[in-house]
Structures are given as C-alpha cells and as structure tokens.
Symmetry: C2
Subunit: 313 residues, 2 copies
DNA sequence: TTCATTAATGCCAAAATGGCACCAATTGGT
DNA sequence: ACCAATTGGTGCCATTTTGGCATTAATGAA
C-alpha cells in the first residue's frame, strides 16, 4: 500500500470518525487501519493522529494531510473516470442506492436483465430509506423520489409520480365513503415521512383551479411505502400513496380509490442522481435501461391502476 | 504498488523515453516496469501504451493519463513537502548535485560534518559537469557557478567567485613573463567550457575603468576545473581560473599569478539552486551549513592564494 | 544480413499485507 | 463508583504481491 492509498485511508478514518467504522466500511480488519496509519506517520515523519484507546483526534499536521487527501481523492477519481471514458464495453462495479421499494420492484428486474447483457459488470444494490451521501459513500447512481438538495449532484427526472387516495373496503364499511375532502380530513391517515420528504397534507386544485392544501389527520407515518400500504390494507387508515408503490392492490380490489374527482397535484417525480456529468459506460447504459424499463411518458406502475388516466385529473 | 504509484511510473517511462531508462533511473529491474505497466492497463481497463519489442508510443488514453499523472505527482510532492514542514529534526534523503570540483572539495567536508550532527539524514551527492534538470531528476539542492537559466527555480548566491591568471614557472621560462594583456593573448591558454558557460576571453577594467574584453588563444578547453589546472601545471598553457578551483598550487609555487595589476571582472558567483521556496528542514539546515563553511564575505578558497585581496583589483 | 538492444514472461525468493487472537485502556451505562 | 463493552495496538502467521534473474522474441541500427 502506497502513500496515496494510506492518505485516502486516513481520510476515510476521519470522515467515519473511528478506525473501527472505517474498517467496517472497507471490509478489512481493524488492525490493518492501525498498522497503516502508523506506517503513514512513519513515512511522512510526522504524527497525524492523537489516539487514546477508544478514540482519536487529528493533529495540526493531520488536518493538513486530510485536506491534501481530499484533493488526491478527487484527482484520482477524475483520473479513473477519465480512463473509464475510454472503455468500449461496460465493466467494473456499478454501485446503486435507492429506497427499498424502488430497488426491489423496479431496479432489480432491470439489473437482472442488464447483467445478462453485460456479464462483466458487477452490481451492488444498496437499499436505504435514508438519503445517503452518494459522493462519500462511493455510489455511481441513486434513484430517489424528489430532487436532491445537494446542488453539486446531477439529477435527471426519469418518471412522473402521481398520487392517489386509497382505502380498503373494510375501512369504507367502518367510516363510510367520504364525499368531500373535508370529510376525508377527519379520518385517520397513513402518510409518508422521511428526512427529506414529509407528507402531512393533501395538495390539490379546487374547481377554480386554485392550489389548495388540506391538512390530514396523519396517525401513522413511515418512510417505507410497503409499510404504509400494509397499514391501509389493514383497514385502520387511508393512505395518500404515490403511484409507484402500487402493485396489484387496486386491480385486485384490496384498495379502493377515494374522491377520484379531486384534482390532486403530482407528487415529487422520480429522479436518477449521480455525482458527475462524466458517466462510465456501465452507468450510462444502466441509466438508459432503467428509463426504457419504466416507460417514456406513462410509467410502468400506472398500468396497475385501472382507468388511472381518468382519475384525479 | 497502487494505481497512483503506477501512474507515476508511467510518467517516468514517458519522460525518460523507454522502459529501460526508467528502470535504470529507479534502480529496478526492467521486468518490473513491464509488469506494472500491464497491471496499470488492466486496472484502468484501457490500453495506455502501444509497444514494440524495441520501443513504445502513447495511446490517446495514455496521453490523458500522463497529464493526470503529472498533476498527481505535483499534488503528492506538495503533500510530502507539507508534511516535511512539520519535521522538527532533519531526516530523510538529501539529494544534491554539483560539479565535480564543488562537490568533491567543498560539499563533501560539509556533508561529513552534517551527517555527524544529524545521523538520520542520508545524502546522495551527484557530481556532474552537465547542468541537470533538478526537478525531473528529483534533486533537493544544486550548487552551480552562475545563475540558472530556468527562472522557475530559486537561486541564492552563496559565494563570490573571483578569477586569476596562472601559469607554471616552466611556462614562464618558455614564453617569458607577459607584461601586457596583448602579450598574454598571444600565448596558448586553457579555458573552461561547458554547455552553460563558455570562457573564451578575458574581461577586465582598463585604466579608465572601462569594461574591456580580450579574446584569448584558447588551445585547450574542458568543463572540468581540475583538468584545466593540470594543463596549466604541465607548462603547456596558462589558465584563467576561478578562485574556487585553487587548492595549494599557488601557495606551493606550482602556479604563479600573471599580470596581477590587471583589474579582472569577477566570474559568475556560486549559487545554491532549489526547486521550491518551501525547503524541508534537512535542506535548509544543509544550505546554512554550506554557507557557514564557505565563509560570509571572503570565501574559504581565497585563503589559499597569498595576498589575493591585493591581486587583480 | 547480423547483432545489439529492448519489451515480455516464467519462476522463485523476499517483502508486504491482512486476519486472528489477545491485551490494555477508555468510556459509557447502570 | 463499578463494570462491561468497545476501541486502538501488537505479535504471529498465512497469503498475496513484488521484484530480480534468466530466457525468449522481435525490432532497428549498423
């Protein structure tokens, strides 16, 4: 391991906050971190870290080296990307992050087909309800609902994402079929909530085409769409669901659309997010494959909702 | 060996023009170069070099990688220098280049003493009559007569360098003692000539303090001062010698100053040259040690010439 | 046409790396 | 205040990588 690699390792130790966490991230033994940090200090002839048996802090020299390591990582990443531009065939590891639903339902089938076409591409699919930092976590591509807050990332819309109001027949038996949005607002709802998106109201256009917002009685919140659907299926709440979460629940009559005359505002679109404009071949091809799979104008999941093009318009 | 080191090796191969020369420079086997270049291409997934069994050329991708490697080398050098700024004690390898005379006579005694004081500093002394490129050859410090032509280098004058005209008693017996510079110009001379400095005339101030130049009959030219002195000692030429080349020849009567009333112009001063303002501790301390050894106003070598302060003034 | 030189490669010894087990000290929780 | 879990350090050893040597093949200069 050379000085550059050790510097990048130092950077990761600092960014993750401990030798142990950095080791876990790299899938190497803690002793490797300890030894390599010692070697780095010996090579540079300067102490970089003050360590106790449970923690560490950076010295002044260490802080300077970390800055340099950041520049080295950036330059090395650029270099490798530049090399990847010369690739004809996609190869290497494609690291993707997405929410559980997106990953499980929409990406995995694409990945399966993609790896049949390009057997020399390895894929790492990381499902996380939390929005991860794709730069520091080393992802090539992320699929998300909503544009990223980080403006240094590149975001491309890949599918629209409409909403619908759904409840089970049992729920309707219990509370009656609501006829106005005010009636609906009194009923218990299940709603999506994460660190980046919080849905606590229904936004729609009234008869005069004005934007309106109705606060809902959100009694159950989760950051996982499947969990929200399960709550609705249980008959104890209705759900304001993004269409991409729907499989066969509507088609099978397990969930019934409510207030279908309401003109709902669209939910945040689905985006592909990546750290640089220069995409390796494998990333660009995969991105295109996902777009093809989801459909150009009408996303694939809208086919699961009968007559959806006439609902909520 | 990691990607960065391999990229730096690629850079050296390209700069030196062959695997063999790069191997010699690094003091490693040629097979190492071959294997590491293959590994680099495999890692990056792109061909960098087109090779025949006797030569190579860069591919387009290779040319891009070389540019990146230059940036990497610069950044890594900066990083290491930054680390060196935190050194308290001088350590590491000090690489010095100088002409044979300077190195042998003046630097070596300083090095001996310096390494007694700082046993953990290693020194590489590279003697070369040619002016070497201290950046690409990786030198910390160069000692030279005359300022460098390369303005990106830092040059510090460390000693003045006066001239004197010398001949052996046998030469004087043969040609008679010259009494004017015109007479001298008729006699055969030995003169210094290198790629950066060519001495083919005598420059002096006349009685009206005007700068004058007398072309000499230079029948023997060399880039090594000791060889020039040997020629003068042989009685077959006189020599216009920089004072720093003189040991005991004048004191012992083996060489005699000629035309001592002549007001000779000074020769190019002796300079220390280094690639960056930021000097590692070892370089700075050594520089100071050389200055101390040579003397502040009157260089040490002028002590070898009796009454020198009254000659050629 | 010949020969010297240069890049490639197999084989093997040496060096470096990484993991495991264990130790010691710190810090957090009770 | 005490205890236990966690984290950094290190010795030992197996594995991997590196580097050198000998040999081969091809190129280019004389």
């Amino acid at each position: 391991m050379d000085t550059t690699s050790r510097l990048l390792l130092l950077l990761e130790v600092v960014e993750r906050g401990s030798f142990t966490k950095a080791a876990l991230s790299r899938n190497i033994d803690r002793s490797v971190i300890s030894k390599q940090m010692s070697r780095l200090e010996e090579d540079l002839g300067v102490r970089l870290l003050n360590r106790t048996t449970r923690s560490f802090s950076l010295t002044a020299a260490g802080a300077e080296m970390v800055k340099k390591a950041q520049q080295l990582r950036e330059l090395l990443s650029e270099t490798i990307r530049l090399a990847e531009n010369y690739h004809q065939e996609p190869k290497g590891v494609l690291r993707i992050t997405a929410s559980t639903t997106i990953g499980h339902r929409y990406l995995q089938p694409v990945i399966n087909d993609f790896q049949k076409r390009f057997p020399q591409v390895e894929v790492e699919l990381h499902l996380d309800e939390l929005v991860v930092d794709i730069v520091s976590e080393g992802f090539d591509l992320a699929f998300r609902i909503g544009e990223p807050k980080d403006s240094s990332l590149i975001a491309r819309k890949i599918a629209r994402n409409r909403l619908l109001l759904l409840a089970s027949p049992e729920f309707i038996d219990t509370y009656g079929m609501p006829e106005t949005i005010e009636e609906l607002a009194q009923l218990p709802s299940a709603s999506y909530s994460s660190q980046s998106i919080r849905v606590g109201s229904i936004r729609y256009y009234n008869d005069s085409n004005e934007e309106c917002e109705q606060i809902t009685n959100s009694t159950f919140r989760a950051n996982n769409g499947e969990v929200l659907l399960m709550k609705a299926l249980s008959g104890t709440a209705y759900v304001l669901a993004p269409a991409f979460m729907i499989e066969n629940e509507v088609k099978d009559g397990l969930l019934v659309p409510l207030l279908t005359d309401l003109k709902l505002m669209n939910f945040s679109d689905m985006y592909a997010v990546y750290p640089h404009r220069d995409l390796p071949v494998r990333t660009r091809l995969f991105f295109d494959a996902v777009k093809d799979y989801l459909g150009q104008k009408v996303p694939i999941w809208e086919n699961n909702i009968p007559n959806f093009e006439n609902l909520y318009q």
